[in-house]
């Protein structure tokens, strides 16, 4: 027998190579698990948006209006005139590639069209064809192409494969923000009825009842009261639950994810306990019952329509200022759009902590303060009685949510709070946190079940960093302050790091908070025994 006589291993290789075509030539395939389902017609109708119908991305006919091409080109023209930044982003990219390897979808999946520069090229190539002389004359040679059905389908696939996290923009020497290009891309797609249900249903629900799940006021109050019961079980204290109370000093707005899903509920209980202990003069609202705003993933118009309720409710209730909970994209909207879209809120006062006297200058215009700004200020002034050892079973790391970190600059406040309430805290590697944080892979409406494979791909860079601190330091809790994160990271950890749990910051605050008149705490908010209390639990069980 000789080496030559053996079958060669490469004979095994059937179709092992990836397609070797240029990106423009590579067709888009809608593989199950990597795209989101279309919006149900009733949710489009409810918002009065275009082309409600049943359709499927995997079918040939997308049931578009006959003049879809003209609608999109007109829409493009309108937006080029309206948004100077968009026009600039179309013109100034030098294709240097600095952003190319910064997108988590590219880093986890290896698909070049997930390089931000190519994602933007999807739109830019069409822009070039119609708006630049070179494009008109030279076409493909200068990267210009016609808008045909193939291109439109590619847009749908890849613009709903960008979580608008803005990581790429951090590295662009010109400050080009691909997330904004995606936003415009989605706006254009919406003009012909190409949208996804995971975005459109919360939008419609929110517009109808004020929150993503469409829960009416009595349902909300009932859910909140269940949290009050749970708190009483753990602490023996029945906390206040002020709802729709006119004349309160502060209106509290949080994402509905905080109260309809674990582990967000524990964070919600955390707020209730903190406010009760402080004796804060505040109120919840059953109308402004949603901090989240999926309009951000739809269109500028929809952001405005959904956001309007916050100032309107603040005015109706006559509060002085607004406090906001642990949410991600909500803060992008508040920070970058609320004031100009629905403000000025000159009927409100500049936020001032009633306990420390601190004036939140950063919120002078928006009148809305982030809960970690509020709590870190309390801790700094020694206003809270804390026992961090109650969280000793938690070995924590912190995931900066894209929007709070990159869009709102909230980097140190959450860390300050975490370190005050938890003795074990370890940072993930520096190129994966703070401004450089990796997305959870499920933001911007992509956190749905059907898109699960794409989420696991996109979340891999984040999970990879979590695994590192888990292996190095035994980390068992991934903290974050975003309702979408709390849902998507939970699934992500189940796949990549099953021994790491996900949770919010104010859950740990509440565990550590020593409340006046409380029973001796035996468990944390999750009902798990506190360190040193394991035996007592057992005794009680007997």
């Amino acid at each position: 027998m000789s080496l030559e006589g053996l079958p060669k291993p490469e004979n095994l290789h059937i179709d092992f190579e990836a397609p070797q075509t240029d990106w423009m030539e590579t067709p888009t395939t809608f593989r199950s698990g990597t795209f989101s389902f279309p919006a149900a017609p009733k949710n489009i109708k409810y918002m009065g948006m275009a082309n409600p119908r049943e359709w499927s991305p995997t079918e040939e006919d997308w049931k578009l209006p006959d003049n879809w091409r003209q609608i999109i080109l007109d829409g493009l023209k309108e937006r080029l005139e309206k948004f100077r930044s968009f026009r600039l982003f179309m013109d100034i990219c030098v294709r240097c590639g600095a952003c190319a390897d910064k997108c988590h979808f590219f880093l986890g999946g290896g698909d070049p069209k997930n390089m931000p520069v190519l994602r933007a090229e999807l739109l830019r190539s069409v822009y070039r064809k119609d708006y630049t002389l070179a494009g008109k004359i030279l076409g493909r040679m200068v990267g210009a192409r016609d808008l045909d059905l193939k291109v439109l389908k590619e847009w749908f696939y890849y613009f709903y494969q960008c979580t608008e996290c803005r990581r790429c923009s951090l590295y662009c020497p010109y400050g080009i923000d691909t997330a904004e290009i995606t936003m415009i891309g989605r706006e254009l797609l919406n003009l012909v009825g190409l949208n996804i249900n995971w975005v459109q249903e919360p939008v419609a629900n929110c517009f109808r009842t004020g929150n993503h799940l469409g829960i009416p006021p009595h349902g909300l109050i009932d859910m909140w009261e269940f949290c009050v019961d749970d708190i009483e079980n753990v602490t023996g204290i029945r906390v206040d639950l002020p709802v729709n109370r006119k004349g309160a000093e502060i209106l509290m707005v949080t994402p509905s994810g905080d109260y309809f899903a674990d582990p967000g509920t524990y964070t919600f209980m955390g707020y209730l306990m903190l406010f009760h202990e402080l004796g804060l003069d505040y109120t919840w609202s059953t109308y402004a019952s949603e901090g989240g705003n999926f309009g951000l993933f739809t269109s500028h118009e929809t952001i405005k329509r959904l956001n309007a309720k916050i100032y309107a409710e603040a005015k109706r209730l006559g509060v002085k200022w607004i406090l906001g909970g642990e949410c991600g994209h909500m803060w992008r909207v508040i920070h970058q759009y609320m004031d100009t879209m629905n403000g000025p809120a000159d009927f409100l006062e500049v936020p001032k902590s009633p306990f420390t006297g601190t004036v939140f200058e950063n919120a002078r215009s928006s009148k809305m303060v982030h809960i970690t700004e509020f709590t870190s200020d309390l801790i700094k002034h020694g206003k809270l009685n804390l026992d961090p050892s109650r969280n000793d079973k938690v070995i924590a790391t912190y995931h900066d949510s894209c929007n709070t970190a990159r869009a709102a600059g909230l980097l140190d406040e959450p860390r300050y709070v975490i370190k005050a309430v938890c003795n074990n805290f370890y940072e993930m590697p520096e190129n994966t946190i703070r401004e450089e944080t990796f997305c959870c892979g499920g933001g911007a409406g992509l956190g749905n079940d059907e898109n699960i494979e794409m989420r696991m791909r996109g979340g891999f860079p984040r999970a990879n960093a979590v695994n590192y601190v888990r292996d190095e330091h035994g980390v068992n809790r991934l903290l974050c302050m975003c309702a979408i994160d709390r849902a998507t990271l939970t699934a992500l950890m189940h796949y990549w790091a099953p021994d790491v749990e996900v949770g919010g910051i104010h859950e740990l605050v509440a565990n550590a908070l020593i409340m006046k008149g409380e029973d001796e705490r035996k468990t944390d908010l999750r009902g798990e025994p506190l360190p040193g209390m394991e035996d007592m639990e057992e005794e009680e069980d007997v």
Binding site: M1, L3, K8, P9, L12, H13, I14, D15, F16, E17, A18, P19, Q20, W23, R31, G33, A40, D101, F106, L107, G108, G109, G110, D111, P112, N197, W198, E201, L213, G214, I215, P216, H218, G219, D222, M223, F226, Y259, F260, A261, D262, T265, T432, N448, D449, E450, I452, E453, M456, R457, F460, P461, N464, N467, Y468, A487, A491, H494, Y495, W496
Partner: protein, 179 residues
């Protein structure tokens, strides 16, 4: 007499490099250069996971380990997990393991002929086959996990509160739309 093991130790770097390049060809052209060059493991997690798997397997093969249980292939965990969610068929996802055979034969052809190490090579290669079979199990478990996540995970997460709320607002009306 020179042993296969010794040559594998001497040529470790070159063989793994060649093996990696073959695996990188499973990704589109525009992605390949990046995959091969960025060395920071947090900036290029696909490369890191591939190399962890490759180095792990190579060193254990050279050390003469046998692979009978899945636990003995722990070092492949991340890379299989990654490939189970990428745009690859099952054969492609596992296939990179076999590329080690190509890389080893290409690097060792001369020695194998000269030193008559064919038998040793065959033993080496059948161990690789073994690992590939175990990796296939791992791959299937990942896929099952994905289906599981899809079917139950998120619903479970919301059920506690939803159940309560359902008592209040019209469950029947919402049921057909439930995600």
């Amino acid at each position: 007499m020179v042993k296969l093991q010794d040559i594998l130790i001497t040529k470790r770097r070159a063989i793994i490099q060649d093996w990696f390049e073959r695996a990188a060809h499973q990704y589109p052209t525009d992605a390949r250069k990046f995959l091969a060059t960025e060395e920071n493991r947090f900036a290029n997690p696909i490369r890191a996971s591939l190399l962890d798997g490759m180095n792990g397997l190579y060193d254990r093969l050279v050390a003469g380990e046998t692979f009978e249980t899945q636990d003995s292939c722990e070092f492949l965990d991340t890379v299989i997990r990654v490939r189970a969610v990428q745009d690859l068929t099952a054969a492609q996802a596992i296939g990179f393991i076999f590329f080690l055979k190509d890389a080893a034969r290409a690097a060792l052809a001369g020695e194998i002929r000269r030193e008559g190490m064919l038998e040793e090579l065959l033993t080496f290669e059948s161990k690789i086959d073994n690992v590939a079979l175990l990796a296939f199990n791992m791959f299937m478990q990942c896929r099952e996990k994905i289906y599981d996540l899809k079917a139950t995970e998120l619903r479970n997460r919301t059920s506690r509160i939803l159940e309560r709320a359902c008592r209040i607002w019209d469950a029947q009306e919402r049921a057909p739309e439930e995600r």
